[in-house]
Symmetry: C2
Subunit: 124 residues, 2 copies
DNA sequence: ATATATATTGGAGTTAGCTCTAAGTCAAGA
DNA sequence: TCTTGACTTAGAGCTAACTCCAATATATAT
């Protein structure tokens, strides 16, 4: 697959894909004779994974580290697991915080509803 | 309260508090004769609210708009409610996405556990 | 063979959200 | 009064994460 096809498929720009590769957020992609990137299925799976993790706010730093460990082979299984657990815990906390804020927002909205209806009644 | 006290109280820097005020993310704070900020209880409530909303990722832009509408009085009640609902919906979606990613991370961690244990068994 | 579209690189530019600096002002204790 | 430390401003600087640009090379369609 060409970079344009992959960009379309995952709704990322070609620039972002090249950037991700440059900083090591995805492994190096194979090239054609002419030097043009030819994305494999595995490349695509990496991209999809990284996009998902980034979408949840995992820092690029941690993901680069994960890719690095992955490329070092089986000796890094424990480290990779530890990294994922650490990020999982952070994510869990962030979700909890956000749920509290969501609740607060909902209460605030309800107060606006209770406040606005009487004002509208008055205008009749 | 002085800026240092408020900063300590909400775990923000004095710089951040001045920045928030400068860009209109919190209403203007009253000053002493000497020109030094003297935060009221209402100022503190704004700060706490803004900090909470920022923590959940609501964009500064939207929060500035909310503060602006608030300062325009009761004519903007509907607009403020609409703004909060819009941000609430965005937040809800983000939480859902993050929960999906959390689930995926947990599954990945489980696979690492299943993978690592047999390898350790082999080493005995 | 040629025009058009797409790809390449290195490096500069952008945006959000702070964070720091310099040069000065204000306030509280000895 | 003097000193020390906290406060003020305008504006520069910083970091993360892209995003764009220019100059050039490759691929595709006619």
């Amino acid at each position: 697959m060409t970079i344009a096809e992959v960009a379309r498929k995952y709704d990322l720009t070609a620039d972002t894909l090249r950037y991700y590769e440059r900083i090591g957020l995805i492994p190096k992609v194979n090239r054609t004779n002419g030097g043009i990137r030819d994305y494999s299925d595995e490349d695509c799976r990496w991209i999809e994974f990284i996009k998902c993790m980034r979408g949840a706010g995992l820092p690029i730093e941690a993901l680069i580290e994960y890719v690095n460990l992955f490329q070092m082979g089986n000796a890094t299984l424990e480290d990779r697991k530890a990294l994922l657990i650490e990020q999982r815990d952070i994510l869990e906390n962030r979700i909890r915080e956000m749920q509290k804020t969501l609740k607060r927002l909902n209460e605030k909205i309800k107060r606006y509803e209770e406040l606005i209806v009487p004002i509208e009644d008055e205008l009749r």
